[in-house]
Amino acid sequence: MHLIASPELDQFREQCRDWLADNVPRGTRPLEGAALRDFDLGWQRRQYDAGWAGISWPKDYGGRGASVLEQLIWHEEYARAGAPPSASMFVALSHAGPTLIVSGSEAQKQRHLPTILRGEENWCQGFSEPGSGSDLASLKCRAHIEGDALVVNGTKIWTTYGEHAVWQELLVRTDPDLPRHKGISWVICDMRSPGIEVRPIKAMSGLTHFAQVFYDDVRIPLTNVVGEINGGWKVAMTTLGFERGTATIAHQIELTNVVERLISTARAMAGGADEAVMADLATLKSEVMALRSLTVASVSRGMREAVPGPEGNIVALYFAELTRRVNGFSFDLLGHKALERGGAHDWPLNYLESFKWAIGGGTTDIRRNAIAERLLGLPKGPSARDLVR
């Protein structure tokens, strides 16, 4: 436990800050659709041209190869500069790309990593199914081998940017007779293939950023299988990304800014906000400070651990529950004014969108199980039995 003082890191911070100040897109970011994707790809290209793309990716694969502390600084400055979230590039940069780097063939890496970094092609995820949410290993989307291709039939759901992505990381069942987590394959699916139908799904916020995908005899070349056939569960479980907890910094800083905005709004109210409101704001502020400290603790561990430990679930759980309470506090503070959509800060939109954090990427219930079983060592339940360790 100590302060890290380093002139090199200070210099790196200045470099990040200067470049971001000159380059962060100023225009309004579209909320959804192809316009949003094009905006995100353009921003990715801009980072690529200046050598910032793939900040956490190894240099050998065209990334910046930044150390954990440099990543931390980059994400801090990124959030402070108000730079856009990676959004439509998220799966490519933080999930599919790192998976290919760890488990892909040389040809797969050559084909895909550069187009991701250059912002030419974005990715979506095909993991969840209508019957397989938290219990992912129960997935049924079927693929059988026909000549030199896999033929896929079935459906995937909650595919964010499914309508606007070029590639998909897809989990399919290639052998229904093997134990459930042993008959799954991880494949690269071209979203432009014949037989794919994408039906957009509107979220409760009114935004349409995810979709259900249907596969009707979709042919995928066998060369697109990542890792072994039937070895996809292992490939999926070893996808850890290279971020070591640094990527959540941006979310944490944004949430801190929202709390500060709530506090200054309360102070500016005629006659001042009532005591109960200020008491709640004090609690929220202490919790965003804790979130920051938890993130710093997680990054500190990331400097030493090759594989992130189960502690990351605490940070994710804390963020998921806190963001919902912070964004919902607008009603207590502003009353009926907070019911109005649009405006400089669309409170209902942010509130309604905040629910996704407690559900997507592992529900808060599954995260509590993981904390109890993997961190505290309580008896394993069904959600842990498939874990490949």
């Binding site: 100590h2 008491a279 704001l281 609690t283 502020k285 400070m289 400290s293 938890l294 509590r368 505290l376």
Partner: protein, 321 residues
């Protein structure tokens, strides 16, 4: 500012050393014997405790201290919380920083001068905590703190308090108290670390019990309802821990220290109290008995949460100006 929150080998050694000593010589079970209440167990080991060098951890070497920082003091304070050590241990850790003369500071560091907390109740009255044998009083209130000689306060009138393992006494305060030392931040952070220790100790006790206690043919920790209670305990404790040590490392380096400490205090007090409650609950009917140690953690958590503080003060501080 970049902070590494993983303890160094030296820091780990300090904490492990203190923990080992406390587990060995001052285990929580000692409190089942009334002879050990009121800081008596600690006073009987005073020579050994002073010999560990704890009380001078954060003081300059020329004063007889070890010249380390607030992070090391906080690690020790957390270990004290784990063991439900008498608050006099924390008072002794904090007091050297309030001593105005070099002689008194050296005496506090060596353990020759003995400190105890007094909690200002207003109207010229304070609660003296485990004050037997103390010759220095570290008076705490939300407005500030100051170190007084024992002779400056009136005679102790013993009263029963929520925590029967702590000696509570009312003392009258001098009417002509000088202006208070304004910043109790450092002391409040140590109290927060102690509360974090309670939050962590209750988590591990509850988890250990949930692994061994069987009902319906399986350990109760196999039930999701219990798992989720334990996960929430771990999360609260982790949040308090991270905020305490982040603040300890960053202290004095340009952040709003008062606000950071207040956040640590709010989070640690809540974690200690809520986790102590959950620990009692997970122990079931046994947890409700006086024979089980679970209640001791709850009582101490409430006492420490209100030492020189209250919620309204911490809320104001965390929001800043």
């Amino acid at each position: 500012m970049i902070i590494d929150l993983t303890p160094s080998d030296d820091q780990r050694m300090i904490e492990d050393g203190v923990r080992g000593f406390l587990q060995d010589r001052l285990p929580v079970e000692r409190l089942r014997d009334v002879q050990n209440h009121g800081g008596a167990a600690e006073r009987s080991l005073w020579g050994e405790l002073s010999g560990l060098g704890l009380f001078g951890l954060g003081s300059a070497e020329q004063d007889g201290g070890l010249g380390l920082g607030l992070a090391e003091e906080a690690l020790v304070a957390r270990a004290l919380g784990h063991a439900l050590a008498s608050p006099i241990m924390l008072a002794q850790l904090a007091a050297p920083h309030f001593a105005t003369g070099a002689g008194l500071r050296a005496a506090l560091i060596s353990g020759a001068a003995k400190a105890a907390f007094a909690n200002d109740l207003g109207d010229g009255v304070a609660h003296l905590i485990d004050g037997d044998g103390a010759d220095q009083i570290l008076l705490l209130s939300p407005q500030g703190a100051m170190l007084l000689p024992r002779s400056a306060v009136g005679e102790a009138q013993s009263v029963a308090g929520i925590d029967e393992t702590v000696a509570f006494a009312r003392v009258s305060l001098p009417s002509d108290l000088p202006a208070r030392f304004p910043a109790t931040d450092r002391t409040s952070l140590l109290i927060s670390a102690y509360l974090t220790g309670i939050a962590q100790a209750t988590t591990s006790t509850a988890v250990d019990y949930a692994k061994t206690r069987e009902q319906f043919g399986q350990p109760i920790g196999a039930f999701q309802a219990i798992k989720h209670l334990c996960a929430d305990m771990a999360s609260r404790a982790a949040a308090a821990e991270a905020q305490c040590f982040y603040t300890a490392v960053a202290f004095g380096n340009g952040l709003d220290d008062a606000s950071e400490v207040a956040a640590a205090r709010m989070l640690a007090a809540r974690a200690a109290i809520e986790n102590a409650k959950a620990n009692i609950h997970i122990h079931g009917a046994m947890g409700f008995t006086a024979d089980c140690d679970a209640h001791l953690f709850l009582k101490r958590a409430h006492l420490m949460a209100l030492l020189g503080s209250n919620r309204a003060t911490e809320r104001q501080r965390v929001l800043g100006h």
